[in-house]
């Protein structure tokens, strides 16, 4: 009698596995792209949960946090400032003809101020921040991973997650709102110069109109959502870098996907934020 050992049927093995449930069976039926998306989303969620688990327990890395605040915040200021200035100037110059057509040119400072403070300032600054900081964190941690520097850190009695990830995520979360405020201020100054290119408006008149137009409900939600933008950029940059693999090619891919995913997350969070502020009656 011949005995043939057939390889087990994959579906049969899956059904016999005690961990198999309806959810996992449904997941198996999804297209590969969707499975990859959900796997990635799950991994980022776990990474974020680890941040909250480890981030608020000692040992606290204050010195490294300050260093990261300097690198992430202070060193981003020139880029954010320049972008904000151009944004304010261009927005003013683009809006003026339309307002002149309707005879409401005097509303230009108020309109620009509300646009910058509520939406354009936080979103543009966050996108610039995602490009600069997201890619730099992704590339730095990615290269540290592939050159075993993260392992070396662990061997040297350091929790690399706390030292590298927690500090960078906190620094990004704390620094972006400050950069947004500074970017808004510089953007409004750009707008003031833009107004004066084709007209004459005094500094005090311009800013009186700006502050008259702005209210608490314009500034506060925009400031709060900046924290979430900063957190998303920090977490995604760190996640991509910390999980980098496949050598130098992987480092490039980490930096690239950190920017893409972080930028996308900024828009998704903005969409959620506008719904929440609407529900709370801030619109």
């Amino acid at each position: 009698m011949i005995r043939i050992n057939r390889p087990p049927d994959p579906l049969h093995s899956l059904l016999r596995d005690k961990r198999t449930n309806l959810g996992s069976l449904f997941f198996m039926t999804l297209p590969a792209g969707a499975q990859k998306f959900f796997n990635e989303a799950g991994d980022i969620s776990r990474f974020t949960a680890r941040f909250f688990t480890e981030g608020f327990r000692p040992r606290y890395e204050f010195a490294e946090l300050l260093r990261q605040c300097f690198i992430i915040g202070y060193k981003s200021l020139p880029l954010v400032g320049l972008t904000g200035f151009i944004m304010g100037l261009v927005l003013t110059m683009q809006l003026r003809p339309s307002l002149v057509d309707y005879g409401v040119e005097y509303e230009l400072p108020a309109m620009v101020a509300i646009s910058i403070v509520r939406e354009i300032g936080p979103v543009i600054t966050a996108l610039i921040f995602a490009g600069k900081i997201g890619s730099s964190i992704g590339a730095e941690l990615g290269s540290m991973k592939v050159t075993e520097q993260i392992d070396a850190m662990e061997v040297s009695g350091t929790n690399p997650f706390k030292y590298l990830v927690v500090t960078r995520v906190f620094a990004a979360t704390l620094m972006l709102p400050i950069l947004v405020l500074l970017g808004d201020a510089i953007g409004l100054y750009g707008s003031y110069l833009g107004v004066n290119i084709k007209g004459i408006t005094s500094f005090s008149l311009f800013y009186t109109q700006v502050f008259d137009a702005l209210s608490f409900s314009d500034v506060f939600p925009a400031f709060i959502k900046s924290f979430f933008f900063g957190f998303a950029v920090g977490v995604i940059g760190c996640y991509k870098g910390y999980n980098s693999s496949k050598g130098t090619e992987g480092v490039g891919r980490s930096a690239n996907s950190a920017v893409v995913v972080a930028s996308l997350m900024v828009f998704v969070l903005d969409l959620i934020a506008v719904q929440i502020t609407d529900l709370l009656g801030y619109n």
């Binding site: 730095e140 540290m144 075993e148 520097q149 392992d151 070396a152 061997v155 040297s156 009695g157 929790n159």
Partner: protein, 268 residues
């Protein structure tokens, strides 16, 4: 170099007969690995691997690329968690230790990484200071400076203290990585491919440095390599890692005479 072992080739079920597993009365085992198993998915890298390292001894683990040498050394230092088996380092089973206990063991065990793993954003001084600061070694600044100077003088690179790693050559970076490993004066040093990527002359210098350090500090060394020149110079005993097991064990001279094909291929 001592020559305490003859060539022995083992099968997977003969590990209990391995000389390395029998406790020597005269020398204390600083590392004792029993039935170590580590797999990644369906790929079984180590399968009932056994090894001992005695105090003051230098053992080389020889194996082809991808045979699991680096996995083994990372399991020993606690960077990877094995599936099964015990790894006793100074009598404590590494996989069962807490983070704090593991950190205390890591002060006594140095690790030289294959890629050196110097922190690119730090100067050489900061690289060397890092393990001292992080392991809470309570020394004042003068003592830190003295320790850095001593470690750098040991590797002949005292003048590089304020340089960045990117300014150094491959051989110099390897020496600095060795100095960083030495700064805590470890009792065991784990070398992961110490001469890989170096030219033969620099590789030879690193091998000589390893021997001189072992003599000077009476450290125990575990060298992971497939560089036969380095192994010949540094190892008292060689363990051949093939198919996930300690396939053969012996001195360089004894293994060189082996007629077993799997052993012989390394010496051709």
């Amino acid at each position: 170099m001592t020559a305490a072992y003859d060539t022995t080739v083992f099968s997977n079920d003969q590990e209990s007969q391995m000389p390395g597993l029998q406790q020597s009365g005269s020398q204390e085992n600083v590392i004792r690995i029993r039935n170590l198993r580590k797999s990644f998915g369906s790929n079984i890298v180590l399968n009932k691997f056994n090894l001992t390292l005695k105090k003051g001894e230098s053992v080389a683990v020889l194996g082809k690329s991808g045979s699991g040498k680096s996995v083994l050394i990372k399991c020993i230092i606690g960077l990877l968690i094995p599936d099964e088996g015990t790894i006793d380092v100074f009598g404590q089973n590494i996989p069962s230790l807490s983070h704090d206990q593991l950190d205390r063991i890591r002060v006594r065990v140095g690790f030289l990484f294959q890629s050196n793993a110097l922190y690119d954003s730090m100067t050489i001084r900061e690289n060397l200071e890092f393990p001292l600061r992080r392991h809470w070694i309570s020394v004042n600044q003068q003592e830190v400076n003295d320790m850095i100077t001593e470690a750098l003088e040991n590797v002949g690179l005292a003048h590089t203290v304020n340089m960045m790693p990117a300014e150094l050559s491959g051989g110099m970076r390897k020496r600095i990585a060795l100095a960083r490993t030495l700064i805590l004066k470890p009792e065991i040093i784990l070398y992961d491919e110490p001469t890989t990527g170096l030219d033969p002359i620099t590789g030879n210098e690193i091998s000589e440095l390893m021997v001189s350090i072992q003599k000077k500090y009476n450290t125990s060394s575990l060298v992971i390599s497939h560089d036969m020149k380095c192994i010949r110079k540094t190892a008292d005993r060689i363990v051949v890692l093939t198919d996930g097991i300690a396939y053969a064990e012996g001195t360089y001279a004894a293994l060189q005479q082996s007629t077993d094909l799997k052993v012989k291929q390394f010496f051709q």
